[in-house]
């Protein structure tokens, strides 16, 4: 199996994702340059965090027109596993590979801290290693992580079990206090309707070793490996 990490100009968590896959998951991984039009041979593609194109215009707005995104779109249409983390999630929304939008945090400030997220769907390709309702400790670092969508979309997500992660407290209670950015229904991560594309604001690649504060990110990234192996 082979992972690919897309590099847009301004991506800055690409290296972190690369190291997490190579050194912790111990899986083959390569960078995919933003001008590449061929993503054959990859089983899972990661759109990493950062400030692609400097967040010019709107976060993710320019990246979604990058040459590589055509190939990424086709890859997803064919069922390839695609995960967008933070800026990657913003790009997925702009590219309409997942529904909804990420608007500025309700605090109007950048926020970097460890948060707790509850696994809302533990049967997906990105959470199969998780127990139902498991609480994971994973960091966020964003200015625009406030998930928003219209009521029909929200209903579709909730009714079809497409919410992947929700902000919660240490005990798993989904409360307003535990919501760091104002996201609707404390949504931290979602799936597309087919279940092969995931977008999430928290950074699992930052929580892969105890020395970094938590290794809970392995539950997410490791699920991808587990599902690809089977």
């Amino acid at each position: 199996m082979k992972f690919g990490v897309v590099q847009f100009p301004g991506s800055n968590c690409d290296q972190d994702a690369y190291f997490a896959v190579r050194d912790v998951l111990k899986q083959p991984v390569e960078y995919i340059w933003h001008q590449s039009t061929d993503v054959s041979g990859f089983d899972c593609i990661i759109l990493p965090g950062g400030f692609s194109y400097g967040d010019y215009l709107r976060t993710g707005a320019v990246a979604r027109f990058s040459p590589v995104m055509n190939a990424v779109q086709e890859f997803a249409d064919k069922g390839g596993r695609l995960i967008g983390i933070c800026n990657g999630f913003q790009i997925l929304c702009e590219a309409q590979l997942v529904p909804g939008a990420l608007i500025p945090n309700n605090t109007l400030r950048f926020k970097c801290k460890y948060v707790n997220v509850k696994v809302a769907n533990n049967t997906s390709d990105f959470s199969s290693k998780c127990k139902p309702g498991q609480v994971l400790s994973i960091p966020i670092a964003h200015h625009g992580g406030n998930y928003y969508c219209d009521s029909d979309t929200l209903k579709a997500l909730e009714d079809n079990n497409r919410v992947l992660l929700r902000y919660c407290d240490a005990k798993g209670n989904v409360t307003e206090e535990a919501n760091p950015n104002g996201s609707l229904n404390n949504i931290a991560g979602i799936l597309n309707d087919r279940g092969n594309v995931a977008g999430m604001m928290p950074h699992p690649e930052r929580a892969v070793e105890p020395i970094l504060g938590s290794a809970d990110g392995v539950f997410i990234l490791g699920s991808i490996v587990e599902r690809l192996e089977s």
């Binding site: 100009p9 301004g10 290296q15 967040d55 400030r109 926020k111 670092a141 930052r206």
Partner: protein, 752 residues
């Protein structure tokens, strides 16, 4: 064809640029004629204090490495610390005080940008930023505005560029009200063999300008940094540069990749004095000259004059000297990353910088004269008249607080002491996945990927101490930095500094500067943490007065085994709390600590009594070292579970912080001959509070004895309250939740 027939420049013009009559005369002597307008502009910026160090050079010679560099090897953009495994750490700190005082967001942002460029121009990948900030009190809306936007600017730049901002400090004092201090520090890592130099070797080699286009921003930024701030400084907003962190991120990747081609002969970033500085400094270093054509410089505004192009401080630009014949290869790397890269000239062998505007020669100046030969001034020093009175202020009649709990909470909630979480949550402190100890502990710790090691890094300086005694205050800054590193399990390896002072032309200010540097130089040698790089920021004053002398220290230490890093919070209930100190705390002792436990210069004296007076606490550097040795050994042997230094606010505050961060109470019993306020709040030096399991107490005592430090059991962790008794009388009893709420909410409440 040399320049001839130049007219004298109107003194009003060159005075406005910052040159005095003697300097102008010297320029005419060097050139053998009057300078052109472009030339006088180039001299004005290069000979400003900010670039030329003309006032500070005689004092900086006190630093051993600076002396060696100036006399021989030459100053590089930043110094290198060897951390073993073939790796070197590059570290530097720089001020952006004046720009931040008038345009805080961009001033702070470009401060970060500038210091990062100093790191990667040496071939090192930036791995962390820290910042040391000072503002006036937050009850003044202007200070809240500056604080909010400086923090915003640092976050804006650091987060986008992908370098974690992992630590620093923020102080609030009246003296910084008109003149905030923004000192940005960065560290980078590289293999020793990959180091890049800033010298323009090889006549005939092409000179490239890479990165952003050049605009009119920041012209005379260097001059602006070399004068006092006044009301009309607001009009200097155009002297503030604008930053583009996205461009800088591309520049980092492109520069590091270009260096790998092996064909970059020399490279220098463009900061203060832009193209003028990078051309003359790289030439001077190599003993060569340079010819450039400003018409080739990519510009972003129309009708820019040669003067404007040479003086522009537009950000995110580098000057690269490349092996002849390989310029296309190097430029291709920059173009791959979407950056401008053009050949603007070539290296020559005549030691002169020739600036052309197409076919017109507009400047012809000896590189060394611009870069190295700014006149040196030997300014007068005079001990300030007020100082003796201040130091000898009678503190024996300061009334005790009626309620120690209330006093404790008031100090804990003082913005200088209170939690800075509001600040650091706005910084991405985790990107690059190397941060092993996050903000909130005594030092940030970064693991070194591919090795067992980690590095710990801090900034420190108590400006108030330096005001009361610049020599001792500066030494305490160094001691405190090393102490914080020890608490993390790191032994000091190197120091950088950012020396912030008032107007050097005032003898009292220059005296403060000289005394502080004397203190620093001695202390850094004693702690084996030599000053490897630094920055001087003078003229930090307004009509209302000068800032406290503030020699900010940045220090880096090495932890041999990253797994042995230590943090400041109490870990478990039932642990023993021990004070490791330089002085002995038994109440029966002949030389009672109490005589030396002075509240002079303390946060307690200022916050509770509104007094800034006395002498800073006494510092015995060899005892301080013994304490560090004991703590380092205790951490290495695995008998110390937490370590936190006593600093601002004294013992009670340090205990409170360890309780708050650990979410555990403490029961502490002190015995003392002095007044309770002194026991609780005096900022006696060389003290570290550690915790250990009861079983390990014996082993710890042995280690402390071996290291010739003192060991006093203070009490035990546990429960939900922090309780302190002195001579069996309870003085403090506060629920940890109350301590926490006061500590965490202070700044957010003021900034709401």
């Amino acid at each position: 064809m040399p320049i001839t027939n130049t007219e004298p420049i109107d003194p009003k013009v060159y005075h406005e640029m910052g040159l005095n009559d003697e300097e102008y005369k010297e320029i005419t002597r060097v050139l053998g004629r009057h300078p052109t307008y472009t030339e006088v502009g180039m001299y004005a910026v290069m000979w400003s204090e900010h670039c030329g160090y003309k006032y500070s050079r005689p004092i900086l010679r006190l630093f051993k490495k600076y002396r060696e560099a100036i006399d021989g090897a030459g100053l590089e953009n930043a110094g290198i610390i060897d951390i073993g495994d073939g790796l070197g750490i590059v570290m530097k700190m720089e001020s952006h005080n004046h720009p931040s005082a008038v345009e805080p967001f961009q001033g702070a942002a470009t401060g970060v940008g500038g210091i990062l460029r100093d790191i990667f121009t040496m071939g090192a990948r930036p791995i962390a930023c820290l910042n040391s900030l000072r503002f006036g009190p937050l009850d003044d809306p202007r200070n809240r505005y500056l604080f909010e936007h400086v923090v915003g600017g640092i976050g804006f730049y650091g987060n986008c560029v992908g370098v974690p901002t992992v630590g620093g400090e923020v102080y609030f004092e009246d003296c910084y009200s008109g003149n905030c201090l923004v000192n940005a520090m960065a560290i980078g890592i590289m293999k020793h063999e990959d180091v890049a130099y800033a010298a323009a070797h090889g006549p005939g080699n092409p000179v490239l300008l890479v990165g952003s286009r050049t605009g009119r921003d920041g012209i005379h930024g260097a001059t602006f940094a070399s004068v006092e701030l006044t009301e009309e400084s607001e009009n200097r907003k155009s002297n503030v540069q604008m930053g583009d962190p996205f461009c800088e991120k591309l520049l980092i990747e492109a520069t590091l990749e270009a260096l790998k081609t092996g064909h970059v002969v020399g490279i220098q970033d463009m900061g203060a004095a832009g193209i003028t500085c990078s051309t003359c400094e790289t030439s001077a270093k190599a003993g060569t000259g340079m010819r450039i054509d400003v018409k080739k410089v990519p510009v972003r505004e129309t009708h820019m004059t040669p003067y404007e192009i040479m003086l522009s401080e537009s950000q995110e630009r580098m000057l690269a000297i490349v092996d002849k014949g390989h310029e296309d290869e190097v430029m291709a790397v920059f173009k791959k990353w979407g950056l401008q890269a053009v050949v603007v000239g070539e290296v020559t062998d005549d030691g002169l910088v020739h600036v052309y505007d197409g076919d017109d020669l507009v400047a012809q100046v000896p590189a060394k004269s611009l870069a190295d030969e700014a006149p040196t001034y030997y300014l007068e020093t005079e001990e300030p008249a007020y100082l003796a009175g201040l130091q000898n202020y009678d503190l024996s009649n300061i009334p005790e607080p009626t309620d120690y709990n209330e006093a404790l909470l008031k100090i804990l909630g003082a913005p200088t002491i209170a939690s800075k979480r509001w600040v650091y949550e706005q910084y991405d402190h985790m990107v690059q996945t190397n941060t092993a100890v996050l903000p909130g502990s005594d030092a940030a710790v970064l693991r070194i990927r591919g090795s067992k090691k980690a590095v710990a890094v801090v900034t420190d300086c108590n400006g108030r101490y330096c005001y009361l005694d610049p020599f001792v205050g500066a030494q305490i800054a160094v001691a405190e930095a090393a102490r914080n590193l020890a608490c993390s399990g790191a032994r000091p390896a190197g120091t950088t500094d950012c020396l912030n002072f008032g107007n050097p032309e005032k003898p009292e200010c220059f005296w403060q500067f000289k005394r502080a540097v004397e203190g620093l130089a001695e202390a850094c040698e004693l702690f084996n943490a030599p000053v490897i790089s630094g920055n001087v920021s003078l003229y930090n004053e307004t009509p209302d007065g000068s800032i406290y002398p503030t020699p900010a220290i940045g220090m880096l230490g090495i932890i041999d085994d990253a797994e042995k890093r230590c943090t400041s919070e109490f870990k478990d209930a039932g642990d023993v709390i021990i004070l490791i100190s330089g002085l002995r705390y038994d109440s029966g002792e002949k030389h009672s600590v109490c005589e030396l436990e002075s509240i002079g210069g303390s946060e307690y004296l200022k916050t509770i009594h509104g007094i800034v007076a006395g002498r800073p606490p006494m510092l015995d550097m060899s005892r301080e070292k013994h304490v560090h040795d004991a703590v380092l050994k205790g951490i290495d042997k695995g008998v110390i579970k937490s370590a936190h230094d006593c600093a601002d606010g004294g013992l009670a505050i340090a205990l409170a912080e360890s309780c708050i961060q650990g979410g555990i109470g403490a029961d502490v019993k002190l015995t003392a001959n002095c007044a309770p306020a002194a026991s609780l709040f005096a900022e006696t030096q060389s003290r570290i509070i550690v915790s250990a399991t009861p079983d390990n107490l014996g082993a710890l005592r042995e280690i402390v004895d071996d290291c010739k430090a003192e060991c006093t059991v203070l009490g035990k962790t546990g429960g939900h309250d922090m309780r302190i008794t002195i001579n069996d009388v309870e003085v403090v009893n506060v629920p940890v939740t109350d301590l926490e709420s006061c500590y965490q909410n202070s700044i957010p409440n003021m900034m709401a």
